[in-house]
Symmetry: C2
Subunit: 410 residues, 2 copies
């Protein structure tokens, strides 16, 4: 069985270990909820206060030009682009994920005017489903959203499908989909592909260029650690730029925003998908959070992520055999950076864990989610988390659940 | 003629004078651009860092509940409501102004299904016009945006007009429209009224309840000093709530956001107009900025604003007779909190003024804008600003403009 010493040795050899000190974490707390909200880092604090004190404080309105605020959505987009395998000029950062998906749905549907169906996953995050449906209703022609079992996508693809929208890593199960393969099959059916990277960006290596993805969007507050409600990001492949209309246009996406023209003329490139002034303070937080990626790579992060999720699954099965169903795929190719454990008492288990300083979360009806973020978590944290899970399962409140908890090997 | 001593006496008697120390302003600079971007205040810095250090830093994901993040859009809406004469539960803060206008246009058009026209002002801010047009196009029936001369509104109102959208204070001229009178005439024609308060909120007293306004939206970064690209606010009169659909729905506007239901069911009240997680850091900045209103009222601010704009106009006419056309109405009832001066060399004049530490801005083709924000400006600032304008007009670069500059009385 795996010991805590084994885990300590893994930490001693971990090239990412020094990054932990950049983050603010509570003593004696193991934070396994970075898949919901990443923690604050020193560079976030520094960058936000630089905007407050210098750019806004001293530069005031001049900073729209002098500090480059006008270009922040695309500058941050270019900083973020390598994390998803995009090229410079293909990504922007602004708004929230739901608005960015709205823009991409509206723009995409105009590119397949003869088709009337948008396919999405019945297990998708609900906000995606609400906005897809709303934008279908406003497409200017009859367009229907169809929610399907994603494993039956191939059977649902036909020449009436305009667009497929899928979340790349399932927010409940942590299953990662085959981006390249699915995109290829969607294209073969003549449809377009929009990926939601909410649980992928910063979590798993992504190659939108290699996978020939049309459109994507993701959020800044999970594995990118940009803060609660951080601005989201949008990807539009270069070959689509100039051909699409932003369905929610605003002055900052105009070719000449300061000419105050009454006729909308889109800016060149991905800038056309900017609507109006995003919060510069919110962008600054995400900007600071992206600094960490100058000290590592998605490849290093992925290697540690897989080692951590493997370790967690192994420890759970050693210490708590048969107690939980491990919902997350064991196949590395199908795994995001979280592990989902199914248990009928999941809600109560998570509440007890939080009281004992292991922060995971619960997703209805029976999923305990644990996110593993290699930038600030240690292998001993994984060990200690499983010890505390075992301790919770041994406690009085779960005695009526029949299972065996093995003794820890420390 | 008015002397600097006269102005100093006004400052000595000014009840708002102590508020100035809350704001960060540059030495020897007179900031007359708060109508574009208000300055940072101590309470903004304090509140943003409280979120970074405590709520996000220590509370992490728990703060969505424990620190009340889930309720921030409506809590801040309730804080802001008195500034526009709204009741608790009628205002929310989130997103950007353009998105909020999009939501209100979409929702309003469904309430007048037999009508096909949206009227707006040809002098409106261009972003309003772009988004109105975009939402008309997606109304699900033929709806046309018609841009009109707002002074001819009565002639344009007929039984095909579904909605009128007007910006209450003109961003170029500073003219303030008759909110109650126009709203009444729009209602008499059977249409609905949406006001844009971008240049009104925090600048002039507003009474949406008394004026029976249907919908309104405004921005947080001008006279509300919430920071560059601050979240915007939306007003929906109580009697409309529950009857409208949010055309850009998201999970935070759902009745049960954590039930992850695939069918959208709107939350009660104005919460239904929230889409997805707004930036909590951006909201914190606006929250801090609103603290100043606990120490004053719109009535006090309005009285000083009118005194300052009166003073500025008088000084400009005394010192620079015939040099500028004063575009802003002299009638107090028609004046916002800025003064617009027309001059064919307006662009160069503003550039020279900025070099001399008077920060105004230019709006094409020939408008010099000067915003007067009583929370942090002094009457001597008004005097000194006009002195520097006179100095610029006397300088070599403007010698070819024929005019007389009278000697200052200091």
């Amino acid at each position: 069985m795996i010991t805590r010493d084994d885990c300590q040795k893994l930490d001693d050899a971990d090239v990412l270990a020094p990054l932990r000190e950049e983050f603010t974490l509570n003593d004696n707390e193991i934070y396994l909820d970075g898949n919901s909200l990443g923690p604050v880092s020193a560079s976030v604090r520094r960058r936000v206060n630089e905007v407050l004190d210098d750019e806004w404080g001293r530069g005031l309105v001049r900073s729209w030009n002098d500090a480059g605020w006008m270009g922040e959505p695309t500058r941050l987009g270019n900083r973020l682009a390598p994390l998803i395998g995009a090229q410079p000029g293909e990504v922007l950062v602004a708004d929230t994920l739901t608005f960015l998906i709205a823009k991409l749905i509206g723009a995409a549907l105009e590119q397949r005017p003869e088709r009337h169906v948008v396919l999405t996953d019945a297990a998708n995050f609900h906000s995606d489903i609400y906005i897809i449906e709303a934008m279908c209703e406003r497409a200017g022609r009859p367009v229907t959203m169809k929610t399907i079992d994603r494993d039956r996508l191939d059977e649902e693809l036909n020449d009436d499908v305009a667009l497929v929208e899928l979340t790349h890593v399932d927010y409940r199960t942590g299953e990662s989909l085959d981006m390249a393969g699915i995109t290829e099959r969607v294209h073969a059916a003549g449809a377009l592909m929009l990926w939601d990277f909410a649980h992928s960006a910063g979590a798993v290596p992504l190659d939108v260029t290699g996978a020939n993805v049309d459109f994507a969007a993701g959020c800044g507050y999970k594995y990118l650690n940009g803060g609660p409600g951080a601005p989201a990001f949008l990807y539009v492949r270069k070959s689509w730029q100039g051909k699409l209309r932003n369905p929610l246009p605003g002055w900052l996406g105009h070719a000449r925003p300061f000419d105050f023209e009454l006729t909308y003329e889109p800016a060149e490139g991905v800038q056309a998908f900017v609507t109006s002034s995003p919060s510069i303070i919110a962008l600054a937080a995400l900007d600071g959070a992206l600094d960490i990626w100058e000290r590592t790579s998605m490849e290093e992060v992925r290697a540690k992520s897989l080692a951590m999720t493997d370790l967690f699954i192994q420890l759970v099965e050693e210490r708590l055999p048969g107690v939980f169903e491990v919902v997350t795929p064991r196949d590395h190719a199908k795994r995001g950076s979280q592990v989902a454990l199914r248990h009928p008492e999941g809600y109560a288990i998570i509440q007890s864990l939080i009281e004992r300083g292991v922060i995971g979360d619960f997703r209805s009806p029976d999923i305990c989610r644990f996110g593993f973020t290699p930038l600030y978590l240690r292998f001993v944290d994984v060990f200690d988390a499983v010890e505390r899970i075992a301790s919770v399962m041994e406690s009085a409140s779960f005695r009526d659940q029949r299972f065996a908890v093995r003794n820890a090997v420390t």
